[in-house]
């Protein structure tokens, strides 16, 4: 029941529009690049300093001088450009990136996001996430609807330390597509085979259901 990680990525890829510059976070967001719709041209920004990021290199062609923000070896597509970190975050802070896709541990129904720190665990740091969420106009969170204990990750209030406030625009989970509105999570679409009731049960934050909720088309 519900989507797997690739399904979530595939659904998010439908949000890509022609001409978008896109920053994809580590994890599920990275998979979005595999599902770019036909006829849609986008460019991927990697905050360590490049635009026009391509796929992994062929064996033997990898270079320590060409990596993405996840420190993986990658390639550059025609039209790519390299730049320094200050310029990279100028792009992000200056809202030149059209869409940011991030993973999260919790999202609140006001659009707050927590994705960098769990008290009691080794804290690795926020990397570029705080700059991204504080600046981007269009932030989609890609995550599972509930955690491993079955608890909702879509909350009235985040319980973990925040990464940013009032910033998330949409959440795409294994169960649903939801938009953040002033009144809470507006349910836009159900995953194939998932009922509104199941989504209700898995959502702790305020959930708005208006009329018939269509099923996603993948």
């Amino acid at each position: 029941m519900g989507l797997d990680k690739n399904g979530i990525a595939q659904r998010i890829a439908q949000e890509l529009q022609n001409g978008f510059y896109v920053n994809l976070g580590i994890g599920i967001p990275t998979l979005v690049a595999n599902y770019i719709p036909k006829g849609i041209d986008v460019e991927f920004q990697s905050e360590n300093g490049m635009l026009g990021m391509g796929p992994f290199p062929f064996e033997g062609e990898e270079s320590a001088d060409l990596i993405n923000a996840g420190k993986q070896t990658i390639t550059a597509l025609p039209g790519a450009v390299f730049f320094d970190s200050a310029t990279s975050f100028a792009m992000i802070r200056g809202q030149h990136v059209h869409l940011t896709v991030l993973g999260a541990m919790e999202v609140s129904d006001q659009g707050d996001i927590a994705n960098w720190k769990i008290p009691g665990y080794m804290v690795k740091g926020m990397g570029g996430a705080m700059d991204l969420v504080a600046s981007a106009k269009n932030i989609i969170v890609a995550m599972m609807h509930t955690n491993k204990k079955g608890e909702s990750k879509l909350l009235r209030q985040c319980t973990l330390p925040l990464t940013g406030t009032k910033c998330v625009t949409k959440v795409v989970t294994d169960l649903a597509v939801l938009e953040i509105t002033p009144k809470g999570f507006l349910l836009l679409e159900r995953a194939p085979g998932v009922s509104v009731e199941q989504i209700k049960n898995a959502t702790e934050g305020r959930l708005i259901i208006e009329g018939d909720v269509p099923e996603m088309k993948l």
Binding site: D65, D84, A86, F89, M122, A134, T165
Partner: protein, 235 residues
């Protein structure tokens, strides 16, 4: 005539480093880190260093080298913990760690080099990063006041450099190296290829030599890859 910033080797390049100094290190992950200067710092043994670097290296390579010898008192980074020794020292309280947003880290370097003592950024508002910081609204949005760094030394790594200190980086190894090169009171650049002035096209230089006080050809570049991700060539 163009100025000459060449020093013989890493040992000479780090001259003046002292205990308890604040020093910057370019690089993102293990890409573009000043490998040779780090090795020289280990030999030098300066202790109590506050290190500004986006990441903290891995066990036995990059800044991991200075963690092993307990030369680092404090790390100022955006993302750490790719190495076990770091984790051990942090959890035991031996090592102070100040985690800050990556864009703020980069901009505080650039501001230091550009004579901008402070600036406002939206990053971190409403989070623990905002604790103790001035909040001010611009264009209907809250921002934090962030201050320029103050570092005695910056260690950077470039692909090519000329004797006047003009630098060219390769690919994504440019990362923090450029902004940090502007920020050090003394900036030390190590390069893979050291060339004469006039060999670099003045239109294609990434970091003007005015920001660089010392330059040398690194003795050895391992250029380790952290995450080797590849695909197979199709037949």
């Amino acid at each position: 005539m163009a100025l000459n910033k060449v020093v013989a080797n890493a040992e000479e390049a780090i001259r003046g480093i002292e205990d308890n100094m604040t020093v910057m290190f370019g690089g993102f992950g293990l890409s573009g880190i000043p490998e040779n200067s780090i090795v020289a710092l280990r030999k030098n043994g300066a202790k109590g260093l506050t290190c500004i670097s986006n990441n903290a290296g891995v066990d036995g390579f990059g800044l991991g080298v200075l963690l092993e010898t307990r030369q680092v008192k404090k790390m100022i980074s955006s993302y750490v913990g790719e190495n076990e020794e770091f984790e051990r020292q942090m959890l035991s309280g031996e090592l102070e760690v100040d985690l800050i947003p990556q864009g703020t880290l980069a901009e505080r370097c650039r501001a230091a080099g550009a004579g901008i003592p402070a600036f406002y950024t939206p990053a971190g508002y409403g989070t623990e990063v905002a604790l103790g910081k001035e909040v001010r609204w611009f264009n209907g949005k809250p921002h934090l006041l962030e201050q320029a760094f103050d570092a005695s030394f910056a260690f950077v790594k470039a692909w090519k450099g000329d004797t006047a200190g003009n630098l060219v980086y390769k690919g994504t190894s440019r990362n923090f190296n450029h902004a940090m090169s502007m920020a050090g009171k003394v900036t030390v650049a190590e390069v893979e290829e050291l060339v004469e002035v006039g060999e670099l096209d003045p239109n294609e230089i990434h970091t003007p030599g005015i920001f660089i006080q010392r330059i040398y050809k690194g003795e050895r570049f391992e250029k380790r890859i952290e995450q080797r991700t590849v695909r197979k060539k199709e037949a």
